[in-house]
């Protein structure tokens, strides 16, 4: 093994080592946790104020009667719950068409210091089984029939 080769291998090792360190740190500070309200509650107990810095996804059901939607300002507030715990959620931006009370949703963001979950992204939980929408029991085909017009 000549000197140049040793140098080359040493150089490669240093670069790889440095990168390994970067990757390790990078993953640690960019983890997004998936939590339910109960798990978030436990995390608050455990980590204290630290928790407000952690990016996370919170999944649960939209509590009936809790939704306040200001369409003109695209401002949405609702309560998210699992079986034991609830959290108030605030979201800027339009919710997806399927967002409604009783729906399973996932919000992405952080828990603010006032214990309101500030969401930057709201996703509806997909279900592959068709369930007729609660209430009228109609399929979209029938629900939106009035939108069909001749002059479109």
């Amino acid at each position: 093994m000549n000197k140049r080769r040793v140098l080359l291998i040493a150089g490669a090792l240093i670069i790889l080592g440095g990168f390994g360190y970067l990757i390790y740190g990078g993953i640690g500070s960019n983890l997004v946790f998936f939590l339910t309200p109960a798990e978030l509650h436990a995390m608050v107990q455990e980590k204290g104020p630290q928790v407000h810095k952690i990016p996370m996804r919170l999944g649960g059901m939209v509590v009936a009667g809790s939704v306040k939607w200001d369409a003109d300002n695209l401002d949405l507030r609702f309560t998210l719950a699992d079986r034991s715990h609830t959290y108030a959620v605030h979201s800027k931006g339009a919710p997806p068409q399927m967002f409604k009370e009783g729906q399973g949703v996932i919000v992405e963001g952080t828990l603010s210091s006032t214990n309101v979950f500030e969401s930057t992204n709201l996703m509806v939980k997909h279900s592959n089984e068709y369930r007729a929408p609660a209430g009228n029991g109609a399929k979209p085909r029938d629900m939106y029939k009035s939108l069909i017009r001749e002059d479109k």
Binding site: F19, N30, L31, P55, L74, S127, Y130, P140, M143, S146
Partner: protein, 662 residues
């Protein structure tokens, strides 16, 4: 009837692949050429069997034969014929069947074109492909059997996943991906053939170069088509999210790209032999890992079809292939010595090694980010995902460095360059680098990586285009040809090299498109009532009305929008929501208006039928069209590089021992 035909075909294919594998190995070992020939015929018959099974499945799908389990799972009488045919790959079992067909086709073709030329190496390669095949055919007879009997007979089925029948790109992305993924089996098989036969020179590389380039072309197109599909269907205004399924397609591309470069170092200089073997083994294993990630249900995504036990089959197969390959490599390591050595740090070899180092680190980063959540859940029972910022933070410096190498590599000569010559060649690209940075800064770009990307893109573009200009000019002087003739003949005279440079140019265009669209897009969301307007950038959107349309397999709600620039009306767009009967949530069809400098992207987020208002998300994203165009240029470059334009160099006649083995 159809069901039994299909079932018989896949079962026969499984038996044939085992038969071929065993006869070839015994034939080579005991030097009985008739056994090898018989095994080879099994490879051809395999393809026929898979073709029969696939045709049977398509027939069953089109005829709505719901007694076939796969048809009952994805078929529906109301789905249009086009989407019915392509629902062949819209769920697990069908996609494995299609995979098997592609693999059988590659196996038969690669065996046919190398028969009687490569002796034991070629025979072992066929055996390796049959071994991989037997794994997939085992899946088809076992856990992923698409031909199970359904009883009682259903009257109708649910149709394919709505997301997968919403856009014609679904007819394009999966086949391309399979052609790319499965195609990597060919160079892998010949690498294993080289290791098993002990013929460790660059024969296996030379023989499989076209196969590798072709598979790489398909894989590149598949990734671009996947990005495009995500952009056109998911309605989030983006095309890449570092989602594990995206990473799954990207990782083998990274290692295959590294391989395409490092194989040249071996051919030219006889160096990096172990490295090249390792790279192609990694590429193959990453394609299988990708299939495991996307098909086993360990990740929740549109690609994850089931929660069955098929994951264990894949893990087992990966483990066996990994251990087998490593043992072979270790066993031959003493014979794999380097013939050349690095003469100078300023040479193309160094550029390629730098390229390989960067691609390896890139792959490692993506692999770690992809697997970390799985490991965290298994070990610590935590549900986590690795956020996009991690990937960007890690890979943006790598991308910038790679873009720099795309320019430097072609300029540097093999062995050793003189500093003076390199300086001279880099003056013009250097000027382009500075000008591009100044120009983008003047246009308002401030993001450091975007500035760097534009600078290096200009640098690399001048380097690569320069190679064409220099070469064509030399021909004009030497042969007195016109500029176009000279350029054409230059490319034909060394299509491999210039195909590579064309691919470089495509990659540079893709990089510029990604840098611009990810850093300088404008986004706005608003709820509009009829005839209300919204100004975004230069555009004004005037919402007219909601409309509905009844279609056989879905109900479409659209929002009619007049598009104005200034006061001039420039068009009408209709973003839609599609309601499929099988799913409560609608699938979006955003309105995308592509121009040379930017895309206008409008998604209908929500609507209120009674109040007549609708909520929109609007993006103006610069240079998105460059990504798709650049991707096509990359593929064109690969195609030029893979075409057999030059006279085939005579392969040295087989040695006597191999004649026996053949």
């Amino acid at each position: 009837m159809t069901r039994l035909l299909g079932l018989t075909a896949v079962t026969t294919a499984f038996a044939l692949s085992l038969y071929g594998l065993i006869t070839i190995v015994i034939g080579v070992r005991t030097r009985r050429p008739h056994l090898v020939r018989s095994g080879r015929r099994a490879a051809y018959a395999n393809f026929a069997m898979l073709a029969v099974a696939t045709v049977a499945m398509i027939y069953a799908l089109v005829m709505h034969d719901f007694s076939v389990s796969y048809v009952a799972q994805v078929g529906s009488r109301s789905t249009p014929v086009f989407f019915t045919v392509i629902s062949l790959w819209s769920a697990l079992e069908g996609s494995i069947l299609f995979w098997g067909l592609v693999l059988a086709a590659y196996t038969a073709a690669a065996t046919f074109f190398t028969r009687d030329r490569l002796g034991a190496l070629g025979s072992y390669a066929t055996a390796t492909m049959l071994a991989v095949g037997s794994f997939f055919y085992l899946l088809l007879v076992g856990p992923a059997n698409p031909f199970r009997l359904v009883s009682p007979l259903p009257l109708d089925g649910p149709g394919p996943n709505p997301l997968l029948q919403n856009h014609p790109l679904m007819a394009v992305h999966p086949p391309l991906l399979y052609l790319g993924y499965v195609g990597m089996t060919v160079p892998f098989a010949f690498a294993i053939g080289a290791l098993l036969s002990g013929r460790l020179d660059d024969t296996w590389l030379k023989e499989t170069r076209r196969w590798t380039v072709t598979a790489w072309m398909f894989l590149s197109l598949a990734i671009i088509a996947g990005m495009w599909w995500s952009y056109e269907v998911l309605g989030w205004g983006g095309y890449w999210a570092w989602d594990p399924v995206e990473n799954a397609s990207f990782m083998p591309w990274l290692t295959a790209t590294a391989f395409l470069h490092s194989m040249m170092v071996q051919e030219r200089r006889g160096m990096l032999k172990v490295w090249n073997l390792s790279l192609i083994v990694s590429t193959f294993l990453l394609t299988i890992l990708g299939t495991f990630l996307t098909r086993s249900g360990v990740l929740s995504s549109v690609h994850a079809f089931t929660q069955g036990n098929i994951g264990y089959f894949f893990l087992g197969f990966i483990a066996v292939a990994l251990i087998f390959s490593l043992m072979l490599l270790a066993g031959r390591s003493s014979e794999l010595h380097s013939e050349g050595k690095l003469d100078s740090p300023l040479s193309r070899e160094t550029a390629f090694m730098g390229n390989n180092l960067l691609f390896s680190v890139f792959t490692f980063t993506v692999l770690l980010g992809t697997l970390f959540p799985l490991v965290a859940e298994a070990l610590r029972d935590e549900k986590v995902s690795v956020g996009g910022p991690f990937y960007n933070q890690m890979t943006l410096p790598l991308c910038a460095a790679l873009l720099f190498l795309v320019g430097v590599g072609p300029v540097l000569p093999w062995r050793a360059a003189s500093v003076k010559e390199v300086k001279k060649k880099l003056i013009l690209p250097g000027v382009a680098f500075l000008l591009a940075i100044i120009a983008s800064f003047a246009l308002g770009a401030r993001h450091p990586y975007a500035l760097l990307a534009f600078g290096f893109a200009a640098f690399a573009m001048v380097c690569n285009v320069g190679e064409f200009v220099i070469g064509a000019q030399a021909r004009r002087r030497a042969h007195g040809e016109s500029a176009l003739t000279a350029l054409g003949r230059l490319i034909v005279s060394n299509n491999r090299r210039y195909g590579g440079y064309i691919a470089h140019i495509g990659i540079i265009i893709v990089a510029v498109g990604i840098a611009a669209s990810s850093t300088y897009s404008v986004e706005k969301e608003a709820t509009l009532r009829p005839n209300q307007t919204l100004a975004v950038g230069d555009y004004t959107l005037r919402f007219r009305q909601l409309w509905g349309e009844e279609q056989p397999h879905r109900f479409v709600v659209g929002a009619q929008i007049d598009l104005l620039r200034g006061t001039k009306e420039v068009g009408r767009i209709d973003p839609r929501l599609n309601y499929y009967d099988s799913q409560e949530e609608p699938v979006t069809t955003p309105a995308v208006r592509t121009r040379f400098t930017h895309d206008l992207y409008v998604n209908l987020m929500a609507f209120d039928r009674d109040a007549g208002h609708a909520t929109f998300a609007v993006w103006i994203k610069p240079l998105v069209g460059w990504i798709w165009t650049g991707g096509l240029i990359v593929a064109l470059g690969a195609l030029v590089g893979a075409l057999p334009l030059q006279k085939r160099r005579q392969v040295t006649a087989a040695r006597p021992t191999e004649v026996v083995a053949a």
